[in-house]
């Protein structure tokens, strides 16, 4: 693996990737430090300014209840980014753990664990998730605020199988390399070899896969929230903002800003993540270099 510095400087040299990283940094920092930012954010409803077009006072316009859209997008950023990160982390832990156990074990165990993944992959999880979301609706868990946490885990649980497959495949290759065999010959236990020798060598692959899982989780969050089954009011995410926009969509008064700004924010983030993932893959994956 190339030193981190070389990879980073190569990434920063490409202007598109640089802009993508810049955008992602802005979005993430906003999500993290929103309460500390010197911005005047108002979340008050004010019927006198309902559905106002973008102006000096309200940069992105106002929604049907007169709330400032710019403030709402910033607030939505927190939850959307949290969903992306939490979902990717869940997928990371489940996928890497499962992949190591499957790829590092006996052929028999590997076979059955992979058949289980095949079965899970053949299930249309999106529809099951909608079922789970409908079960969670209005339940005691959701009322206590735990709903959002469950939601994060669900998002990650959908996308862990590709990670498990990739890690499992690489593990099976790596544990038969000379250095792994040498360690076995020296009497190092298999678990330790997997954890201390194989796992660090998997890092490039894992980083690339995680970068590409985050946009998928973001998309899925937006999808569920748009249908009204994801993040629940009063919490805001980029998906619920789009849902609000479509609710007031009519030909008499076109509130185009309500659709445009949340969509563009999400779209830019998705494009930036996909671009960064592709670039990382080019630099980190030995097969692609």
């Amino acid at each position: 693996m190339k030193p981190l510095k070389t990879i980073l400087s190569a990434l920063f040299k490409d202007p598109f990737t640089f802009v993508a990283i810049l955008w992602l940094a802005i979005v993430t920092l906003t999500a993290l430090f929103l309460p500390l930012l010197p911005l005047e954010l108002s979340h008050e409803t004010d019927s006198t300014v309902a559905l106002n077009a973008p102006s000096q006072e309200h940069w992105f316009g106002t929604d049907a209840l007169g709330r400032d859209l710019f403030s709402r997008i910033l607030r939505g950023t927190r939850i959307s980014i949290a969903c992306g990160i939490a979902g990717a982390l869940t997928a990371l832990i489940l996928g890497v753990g499962y992949g190591l156990i499957s790829g590092g074990g006996s052929d028999r165990r590997d076979h059955w664990l992979m058949r289980l993944v095949d079965l899970i992959d053949s299930i249309p999880l999106v529809f099951l998730v909608i079922l789970v979301a409908s079960v969670l609706r209005g339940s005691a868990l959701e009322a206590s605020g735990g709903g959002l946490g469950v939601f994060f885990v669900i998002l990650g649980a959908v996308y862990w199988t590709p990670m498990a497959r990739i890690v499992r495949g690489e593990t099976r290759v790596l544990r038969h390399r000379e250095w792994a065999l040498a360690a076995t010959a020296l009497g190092v236990p298999q678990k330790r070899i997997l954890w201390r020798e194989v796992l660090p060598n998997l890092m490039p692959t894992i980083i690339v896969t995680v970068t590409l899982i985050v946009p998928r989780v973001l998309l899925f969050e937006a999808f569920l929230s748009f249908l009204g089954l994801g993040v629940q009011s009063p919490a805001v995410s980029w998906g619920t903002l789009a849902r609000d926009a479509f609710e007031v969509l009519n030909p008499v008064q076109t509130a185009w800003w309500l659709i445009l700004y949340p969509s563009v924010t999400l779209a830019l983030t998705l494009l930036a993540l996909n671009l960064l993932g592709d670039q990382l893959r080019k630099r980190l994956d030995p097969k692609q270099r």
């Binding site: 099951l128 409908s134 005691a140 249908l227 659709i259």
Partner: protein, 306 residues
Amino acid sequence: MIQLIVRRSVASLITIWAVFTISFLVIRSAPGGPFDAERDPPEAVKAAIEARYQLDAPLWQQYLNQGWSWLTLNPGPSLRQPDHDVATILAAGIPASFLLGTLALLLGIILGTILGVIAAWQQDRWPDRVITLFASMGISLPLYVIAGLLILLFAFHLPWLPPAGWTAASSAVLPIICLALAPAAQVARLLRSGLIEASQEDYARTARSKGRGVVGTLLFHCLRPASIPVTSTLGPTAAAMLTGSLVIEQIFAIPGVGMHFIQGAMNRDYPLVLGAVLLYTILLQILTLLGDLLMGWLDPRARVEE
């Protein structure tokens, strides 16, 4: 061939059974019953309701009963519309969803093929770059963003098409286009790279040296091998379109299966939701099997391996 169909059908049945079992367990493990939102009914009424929906039987008996009633296509009434059978409600949504899905898939394949061939033919020139950009946007953007922009443009800014509804033929145009864009982008991208790869093979060079033009070589010699990767993603593409149809039916107010599904999920109408989940699962299994059969026809190597 027959062996393949049998084996895949058995795998599909296992999947469908797994989906049913997981759904059943999820619904039954829900904290509180589906009637908790109502005002506390008298004990007798509650018992009568539970008896009607068999909520008072032991769990394994409920599981067997439900399994049997779904197998015989007689799943019983919906929770929120007690006068209507779940099967009837879903069946009423099928024509609209079927029409929307089939036309969108057809349009997606045709559009994707045309764009893919143009991109491969004009490789690294501006038409290729435009198509590649379009394809990566079509894959990475959420459907509601695309639908929202198209509605703003073609329904409000230029009042050519109705923004919602499912009455006139013109009202079907926007939803079909929206739903077709993602598969078109997917097909175009895969076909482009497949065609470029195939055009460097020996048989393509032979065709060129025989005097066949560039486009002719692509269409008559490279298209068939290049369409193998496209076919192999038919299953995931179909799955993506089914999810997409949920959003599209919501946005354009189309009375299809997806609309009933989401409505049921919002109302916690479990029998209806379970029915829709099973319907989508079965449909997806059939489409995946069709994709595999098509692939065996396109690529003899896939046949031998199976």
